[in-house]
């Protein structure tokens, strides 16, 4: 009886792409939970819409490309991209915004390049940036943390609004929405106010703020509510490092460089530059550091390369946040460094065993 004779190794580690993707999704749970706590159910509905869109688009394109559908669909990569995009969208985004963003990410940024493993740019960030540029109004209409909002919607009302653009009687969209802390800070600094003035104006206790009818957006260290979401992602990210799903290099380099550069400017001029902690715990810094920048397909490969790559993202994030046209910049920074990844890989090779290479 002849046996098959494939080549060694004949034993494989219990790992697979699906397993990696599922671990990453599990690690998102604390952050998403905080998100739901502070910003209500919108994000969950967005995730559902995004998942359906992503899987449909992926299946459709695979069919057109005449590739087996199930193996790619079940690897979890499209689902993860969908979830990540949903997390970057305002909780009260209309359904079509999510659909367009996710479809663009899956079809254009991923499948047109050849599918998983062949895309030079992070698909989630491509989708996000496309939306940000094309639909700036929708993309910047965030809601304040629910604890602070005068009006907040329950699950059904949120779904009604996202799907049918219907609000309960007596509630206007403008009354529901609010710029993000990073956005507000940027706007106020641009108006010539100092950080302390903004803080004084926007970080008041509830009593005073109601009197002055402004919403206190600053929390203890970052944006109110945002700091908890960031903390959730930090927790999940640390778990991923502990589980060796991602290496520490990119998150540490990115957050480290962001910390260093923001501290530097904060120390030089605390009046016009936000605190380092504000930078770390606002916007997409934590999500970006652990879940976006670490996407292996589009990142640098070697460990030294990863450090350069992470540092680049941290620095660009700060530069664009501070002097650029957009309040948050993780997406742009990631895409910029995606472009540099092959170059970084070219210059940072490890020295091979038994070779004396400089």
């Amino acid at each position: 009886m002849p046996f098959n004779t494939p080549t060694s190794p004949h034993q494989l580690a219990p790992t697979s792409i699906t397993r990696v993707m599922v671990m990453v999704m599990l690690a998102l749970i604390p952050g998403v939970a905080a998100y739901v706590w502070f910003f209500d159910w919108g994000v969950v509905i967005n995730i559902c819409i995004a998942l359906v869109t992503a899987l449909t688009c992926e299946a459709l394109i695979l069919k057109l490309r005449q590739r087996p559908v199930m193996p790619s669909l079940s690897d979890g990569s499209a689902a993860l991209t969908a979830i990540l995009i949903a997390l970057t969208l305002p909780p009260l985004s209309p359904w079509w915004l999510t659909v367009i963003g996710v479809a663009f990410a899956i079809i254009i940024a991923k499948q047109l390049y050849g599918g998983l493993g062949f895309n030079p740019f992070n698909p989630a960030m491509v989708g996000y940036v496309m939306l940000l540029i094309s639909f700036p109004r929708e993309m910047t209409s965030w809601i304040p943390p629910s604890a602070l909002a005068d009006n907040s919607l329950d699950f059904l009302e949120t779904a009604m609004f996202i799907l049918f653009h219907v609000l309960p009687d007596g509630v206007t969209f403008d009354a529901l929405t609010e710029a993000t802390p990073l956005d507000s800070l940027k706007t106020h600094l641009a108006l010539g106010n100092t950080v302390n003035e903004v803080r004084a104006q926007l970080g008041l206790d509830e009593e005073t703020s109601r009197v002055l009818s402004v919403i206190p957006i600053f929390g203890a260290i970052g944006g109110k509510g945002w700091e908890w979401v960031g903390g959730g992602f930090l927790l999940g990210g640390l778990w991923l490092i502990y589980k060796k799903v991602i290496s520490w290099h990119i998150p540490v380099a990115m957050l480290g460089s962001l910390l260093v550069i923001s501290s530097l400017f904060y120390l030089i001029d605390p009046e016009h530059y936000a605190t380092p902690m504000f930078h770390l715990f606002s916007g997409a810094a934590m999500l970006g550091a652990f879940f976006i920048a670490t996407d292996p397909v589009t990142a640098a490969a070697s460990n030294r390369g990863k450090i350069i790559y992470g540092c680049g993202i941290g620095i660009f994030t700060y530069v664009i946040r501070t002097w650029g046209g957009y309040p948050d910049a993780v997406a742009f920074a990631v895409l910029l460094l995606n472009m540099c990844a092959p170059l970084i890989d070219h210059y940072f090779k490890s020295s091979v065993f038994g070779h004396k290479r400089d």
């Binding site: 060694s8 219990p14 697979s16 290496s247 070697s302 090779k349 070779h355």
Partner: protein, 575 residues
């Protein structure tokens, strides 16, 4: 001072993996003698180097330990009859080799009397000249028993300019499943220690280290006890990590030094031998017995009584499996060697040879295979575990795209094919297979280049000869017409050129002969890669399958001078 307790500085090698050990199954029972089969099939090529040359004929009666094939050339090893009986056939039989090829083998019908040939022990090896010792070891057919099968006497020859500082006895046995060295160390540490003394004497090594992984505490205890009080001999317990048993990695762990690429351990004053080789050397010197049997681990989930057996070379694997109560219908894959570097056999009728350390009869469930091959997600897990610090991912892209020069730029030939990268790959890409293919393709390419160079030179030489003859004819004619003035000048110049050319041709011929060995290696590698690529590459997407099907020239036979049927074509032995 032998020392089991002296803490010694130990270094780490880069990467490595911790696969499921699966060693306990085969160490429950003590080792036993394998049953004597009716027929022994002895391939003439059981080692690295040239195949041995048969010195018996069909119909001859042979005695146990009698030399039946002698070494052909320096890098070769003789073969001895494992028991008494009659030579019934000398022809081509399937041999255990990744290629699945056939090779010349001597078949002995055993007579059950197990009658020894007369043999002589060396009484006091310390008074014997090391070169004479080496000769005895060579004549006893001792080769590295860790898996590679390199003739041992060569590695006992210290180079004249370099002093041997450290002799490392490799008892690491880092591959999962394999426990033959483990059992030997537990049950017979004294042979190992005695063999070590002989090696030290032959090499005049300053110190000696026996390295054992910490997943073998009993073996460690036992060797420590046997090594008690011996000066300059140290037993080192090293943390378990695959591929620590690979020579270069082990040298790094014990001495902290990197063996240079393309170099050998001896270049940095270190020599590495397997512990079972030491025991075989002990038997060759002290008892005068040649290498005719070895310990083989018979294991795998299809085997009901996994254990270690002392097996005569030439015993069909079938017999061993039966002795260990195999459930034949359960076997999904039959592996010789470990699961990480061993190769799959197509048939149970193949014989055990000198390099057979383990037979794994694995079930479908056990292997957990049938994982679909997915695209590379550039996760870098392969680079993290590569013990040679290569960039497996880049190598993979280039091998896949057949950019062979780029693959070489990424140091393809430093790859030891340990399989760590394939093991950890979440996309289940058969990375090592791509590297084997690329290596084979490069060898073939170089070979073809050489051939075409030779053809070109032959052609140029011919043109020159024609020209010269023409000139000579013209000169003759000219001489006839005007005999005096043009006597010697014209033919002379081209004649010098011709002589030069002839010399060049001669050199070329020499080179050609030297490279013949490599050529065969390349062809076989390419053939193996091609077959595997066809078989396995079909699993990935269709485009991948075509991309790994090389256009190498066909070669189906394997002749006497061939250089490679031993288990590994690397000098590495991962045990």
């Amino acid at each position: 001072m032998s020392s089991c307790n002296t803490p010694e500085k130990r270094w780490k090698f880069h990467g490595g993996v911790h696969p499921e050990q699966n060693k306990r199954q085969s160490t429950v029972e003590p080792s036993a003698q394998a049953r004597m089969p009716e027929k022994l099939i002895l391939p003439l090529h059981q080692h690295i180097g040239a195949a041995a040359e048969a010195i018996v004929e069909v119909g001859d009666r042979v005695l146990k330990g009698q030399k039946i094939a002698s070494a052909d050339g320096y890098v070769s090893a003789p073969i001895h009859a494992p028991t008494s009986g009659k030579v019934i056939d000398i022809s081509e039989y399937p041999i255990p080799h990744p290629s699945g090829l056939r090779a010349l083998s001597i078949v002995i019908e055993t007579d059950g009397r197990d009658e020894w040939v007369e043999y002589k022990s060396t009484q006091d090896y310390t008074r014997t000249n090391p070169s004479h010792l080496r000769n005895i070891i060579r004549e006893a057919g001792v080769v590295g028993l860790g898996g590679a099968g390199f003739p041992s006497f060569i590695k006992l020859n210290p180079s004249s300019q370099k002093k041997i500082k450290t002799l490392i006895l490799n008892g690491v046995e880092c591959e999962p499943y394999i426990t033959c060295d483990d059992m030997l160390m537990r049950e017979d540490p004294h042979s190992i220690i005695e063999g070590t003394h002989i090696m030290r004497h032959a090499l005049q090594a300053e110190e000696c280290v026996i390295a054992i992984e910490d997943n073998k505490p009993q073996a460690y205890e036992s060797v420590c006890k046997a090594a008690e009080g011996i000066k300059g001999l140290r037993v080192a317990l090293v943390p378990t990590r695959y591929p620590q048993g690979s020579e270069k990695q082990l040298v790094q762990v014990i001495t902290g030094k990197e063996v240079p690429s393309n170099g050998l351990a001896i270049n940095i004053g270190v020599v590495c031998h397997n512990v079972s080789t030491a025991a075989a050397i002990y038997r060759a010197i002290h008892l005068g017995q040649p290498l005719i049997s070895r310990m083989v681990t018979v294991t795998g989930a299809a085997v009901k009584r996994p254990r270690n057996l002392e097996v005569l070379f030439g015993t069909p694997i079938e017999a061993l499996l039966q002795q260990c109560s195999v459930e034949s219908e359960q076997i999904e894959r039959l592996v010789m060697g470990g699961p990480m570097m061993g190769f799959a056999l197509h048939d149970t009728s193949l014989p055990v040879i000198k390099t057979t350390n383990c037979i794994i009869a694995a079930t479908r469930k056990e292997l957990g295979l049938d994982q679909p091959v997915m695209p590379c997600i550039r996760c870098g897990a392969c680079a993290d575990v590569c013990p040679v610090k290569l960039l497996p991912q880049q190598l993979y892209w280039h091998a896949r795209a057949k950019e062979l020069d780029k693959a070489q730029e990424y140091d393809l030939f430093d790859c030891i094919e340990c399989g760590c990268c394939s093991y950890v790959c979440p996309s289940h890409i058969p990375l090592v297979q791509f590297y084997r293919f690329a290596k084979g393709a490069i060898w073939t390419q170089e070979q073809e280049q050489k051939k075409s160079d030779q053809a070109r030179e032959r052609h140029e030489f011919r043109l020159m000869r024609v020209e010269r003859e023409k000139l000579a004819r013209e000169a003759k004619r000219a001489k006839k017409k005007a005999p005096k003035p043009k006597k010697a000048a014209a033919p002379k110049a081209p004649a010098v050129d011709g002589a030069k050319m002839a010399e060049k041709m001669r050199d070329e011929a020499m080179n050609q002969r030297d490279s013949a060995v490599n050529a065969r290696k390349a062809e076989i590698q390419a053939a193996v890669a091609r077959v595997k690529a066809k078989k396995e590459g079909a699993a990935p997407k269709s485009d991948e399958a075509t991309s790994i099907t090389p256009a190498a020239p066909q070669k189906s036979g394997i002749d006497k001078k061939d250089d490679s049927p031993a288990a590994s074509d690397n000098n590495e032995q991962v045990q």
